[in-house]
Amino acid sequence: MSWLQKLLPPKIKRSLGESKKTVPEGLWSKCPSCEAVLYRTDLENNQEVCPKCSYHNRISARTRLDFVLDPEGRYEIGAEVTPLDPLKFKDSRRYIDRIKASQAETGETDALVVMQGAIKTIPVVAAAFEFKYQGGSMGSVVGERFVRGVQVAIEQKAPFICFSASGGARMQEGLFSLMQMAKTSAALTQLSRAQLPFISVLTDPTMGGVSASFAMLGDIIIGEPQALIGFAGPRVIEQTVRETLPEGFQRSEFLLEHGAIDLIVDRREMRDKLSTLIGNMMRLSAVA
């Protein structure tokens, strides 16, 4: 405790530390899709899905895992792995400063959170991307945490689930990032060898190097409604081909139609669907 804090009366002390929380959160929120004005609590109780138009808002990695995993018996995997700046990368800002800023903004140490836990008591390992951390980009830490998650799944004989939300490879780590595509894909060969399921859930957005590696290698690939999924970004494609892109291009529904994903699952049904699918793949006795 600093000398200043020691001198202050208790009431002021509290408001110093928690000044952020005393500012009331927005009570209302406007749906970016249908523009309906929604009561914030209603949206939260509906897993951040618009009750009017079913628009799926982007959510944080931990919120995602909260929605899917049982509350009991969760252990985080790979939190001991944190980022470095191997290239001393610098554009308009230094990478090392970007790392600090993203960590402060999101409270995460990198863009992937991995947890061992259970879905309706079925043990699983689940990973989720934090899109707000540098666009959920994949660098060395994301790759390593993914691999450690897969290894725990193999040890525990549990299925591995990954919820992607990423702009692709992280440029600031150069070729190290590109190699994470090879690394994560290779880890999945080991999971397959152990005959354990990999379920890949593609959420908005799943692009570039993440899409072109483990995300498209699921035994089952699930898309969230309306998620943008693809290799090249729509703007890059538009500039290259100089054509207007077709309606709904690179959305989950478009991928389903073109045979690229197995099914689309509404976030509110995700937990149920996952447990059913896993139950079948693991040949578990039917859950009541």
Binding site: Q180, A212, H258
Partner: protein
């Protein structure tokens, strides 16, 4: 063929055209100026050496894209015999941006697969500037499997700006096609050698790049994104490509220091296109060495080493577990 020079090579170009002029004069001149020509040629060599000794990453990137640089089919012709090109992915189309087939290397049957760029405008369009579509990766995958079935080592030649960003490519599952190759290459039961002969552009390059031994020609590049692409995203201006090239670490030297490639194959002075014959000989020796080393390993050992190598990629901090 007359050498075409890059911007930073203009001083060499001027000297060379002077030499050319003198040669022309000498033909019908009573005066012997061969000494002068020799002197200028020496000077041109020294100048080239000086310039190439301190190439920046952006300049290397330009050499890697030199319009006269040998392409995959040139290397196939120069290094292999009995090449028979095999076409198509058996599902949709044949992609001319990737070529492949069986051939003999030093008398030994192998599978050789590489990106192919075009020389003139017509061929450039036909080859789609070396930017593969999903069919290309799927053809490569088919040939990988074929090689595995018949126990043939695989040699890949990498030279692409990247995967093609097109509507059809997305519709036909560009992402899945690249991902599948990464997955399958990780457990193919035959030795894989990769050589980056020009541009190693991102996922499009990696889809032929998961190998047991990765070489780079001295003036080739390998990068997660093109310097131009990186500059326009991070600096909001493609003019900053030289800065991006430098900081992205895309040259053979930087990547060797970072432990991301295994071997640098020296190029002739001024780049592979200045003396393709010498380039072929140097690469032949390198391939021969490495192939022998890999073939001496048992399949189990080969696959274990490949997996260990893949798992070792990445630089991060390991903190004590609380």
């Amino acid at each position: 063929m007359k050498t075409s020079f890059l911007d930073f090579e203009q001083p060499i170009a001027e000297l060379e055209s002077k030499i050319e002029e003198l040669r022309y004069v000498q033909d019908d001149s009573a005066l012997d100026i061969s000494e002068e020509i020799d002197r200028l040629q020496q000077k041109s060599q020294t100048l080239t050496k000086d310039i190439y000794n301190k190439l920046g990453a952006w300049q290397v990137s330009q050499v890697s894209r030199h319009p006269q640089r040998p392409y995959t089919l040139d290397y196939i012709q120069g290094l292999f015999t009995d090449f028979e090109e095999l076409h198509g992915d058996r599902a949709y189309a044949d992609d001319p941006a990737i070529v492949g087939g069986m051939a003999r290397f030093e008398g030994q049957p192998v599978m050789v697969i590489g990106h192919q760029k075009g020389r003139d405008t017509k061929e450039k369009i036909y080859r789609n500037f070396g930017m593969p579509r999903p069919e290309g990766y799927r053809k490569a995958l088919r040939l990988f499997r074929l090689a595995e079935k018949f126990g043939l080592p695989i040699i890949t030649l990498i030279d692409t700006p990247g995967a093609y960003p097109g509507i059809g490519a997305e519709e036909r599952g560009q992402s899945e096609a690249i991902a599948r190759n990464l997955y399958v290459m990780a457990e193919l039961k035959v030795p894989l050698i990769g050589v980056i002969i020009g541009e190693g552009g991102s996922g499009g390059a990696l889809a032929l790049g998961v190998v047991d031994h990765l070489m780079m020609l001295q003036y080739s590049t390998y990068s997660v994104i093109s310097p131009e692409g990186c500059a326009s995203i991070l600096w909001k201006s493609a003019d900053k490509a030289p800065e991006a090239a430098e900081t992205l670490a895309i040259t053979a030297n930087r990547l060797k220091t970072l432990g991301l490639i295994d071997r640098i194959v020296a190029e002739p002075l001024g780049g592979a296109h200045r003396d393709p014959e010498v380039m072929m000989q140097t690469l032949r020796r390198a391939l021969k060495d490495e192939l022998a080393l890999l073939q001496a390993k048992s399949t189990t050992h080969l696959l274990e080493a490949r997996l260990d190598r893949l798992m070792s990629y990445g630089k991060f901090k390991e903190n004590p577990v609380r």
